[in-house]
Subunit: 304 residues, 2 copies
Amino acid sequence: MRGRASGLTALVLGAAAGGGFPQWNCGCRLCRLARSGDPRVRPSTQASIAVSGNETDWVVVGASPDLRQQILQNPRLWPVHGPRQSPIAAIVLLGGDVDAIAGLLVLRERQPFTVYAPAPLLDLLRQNSIFNVLDPAVVRQEPIVPYEPVRCAGGVLLTLLEMPGKVPLYLESNGATEAEPWPTYAARLEANGRSVIMAPACAEITGQVRQQLRDVDLVFFDGTLFTDDEMVATGLGQKTGRRMGHVPVSGPGGTLQGLADMPGRRILLHINNSNPILLRDSPERQQVEAAGFEVAYDGMEVVL
Amino acid sequence: MRGRASGLTALVLGAAAGGGFPQWNCGCRLCRLARSGDPRVRPSTQASIAVSGNETDWVVVGASPDLRQQILQNPRLWPVHGPRQSPIAAIVLLGGDVDAIAGLLVLRERQPFTVYAPAPLLDLLRQNSIFNVLDPAVVRQEPIVPYEPVRCAGGVLLTLLEMPGKVPLYLESNGATEAEPWPTYAARLEANGRSVIMAPACAEITGQVRQQLRDVDLVFFDGTLFTDDEMVATGLGQKTGRRMGHVPVSGPGGTLQGLADMPGRRILLHINNSNPILLRDSPERQQVEAAGFEVAYDGMEVVL
């Protein structure tokens, strides 16, 4: 399929939220099922996709800490010739959390590619000297600005989008005092007249969100939690989904409701280990699929 | 075996040098064999071992970027009970390179454990705000000083050792100007009268090195390169092994010669993807084994 001249291909490198599935220190029912090899669940690495318009050069969105493993598991991202080479031509950063940037550290070895990121994220890399392993003379850093498209590799046009972030502090009721460190972004990628949006974090489905998602062929959308209080109810954490910047899949104002009438394909991604949609025969998974949504998994490939 | 009261167990979590095997962007013969599933080579993650004296609490030496994958592949490191728990009680850092510290980022999630490291390495973590994901209120940092033993988890007595580092700049012939950023360390771990040394980097086998290795039951020793100019000869790099702080396995002053008369078990680890000992039927591998050395692999377990 190399060199195919039309369409857009999206590969799911990782479907899970931060920590992955199973999470290293989590003994919850779903993580235990994943470790036991139960066929009803699929172990997943942390969220990332790769997109190409020519199936030769790939744009990776999200630098997951699992990137080395993800490359090994996806032959399309293997070097084509020696001694040193990679089909990965660009990395797009959307967030500053460990699960969204640490994968850059995997990509040292003096291999040229371009990092596209909003300026505050490039500043974050500069402030952390460990990222100097990516020599700026070899790895180009290019700031991107919301709604200003840039032509990157593989025939892909990249546009940074803004998404609603965490609830403002003054609206919080739990007394937490953490500030929102970064705006929340999504990426729109177009090639050969096809389009995909990668939106691993969205705190609320507003009119603007719906407008942005309406005219794409495919969206990978925030599937972190099924219910807003899932982490609290399962004893795994103290924060609600909205407090963490993630709209729940179910319930009033949730994703199933808010994106019910979108015309394109809708695939949930960035799925937390607490989310029962990870279990193939769960009622929650059935509810999601009955509503016309899909659930991402590592290695999923969509050709548009 | 849980709760066994005597002996020491060492697990190889990762046997490869920085970049792992295969390396993401490397198209050399060995990396291609590894990707193709050839049974003569074993894919390996980046260097790390886990040690325990009670088989319940584990001390991990080296925070490899592959730590999430390594934990998943080693049932002894899985949580024993929920909702959140881990048998990993301590992490020992020996170097400041990405392949020796990035694994700490995997261990966020508010799980208590202790990081033991020389003070300059703890400073490095403080200088890189990304490591703040390990909240100091949850993850304790404890500086260690060469040759001052500390009692850590799992009945293990930990002693930091000094190893010869990179060749001094004034002795270099290739005109490079990079300074040596950190001293080079090894770790000695003892439990129940048994002992192991983890020495993933050693630039020269001096009398002091031989003295330190003489009275342990097992050493995991720097197996980065088979010949000093291997990276140059294979077109993969411009530096010799000694220039990178790694004594070669073969040749005059090499490891086979320098450690020929050590009484304990000697296992080569931190093996670069260019090293022909990775190939099971290579003459170099035969030479190593004929000399009484072993070659580490992911999942290798040694009970002393």
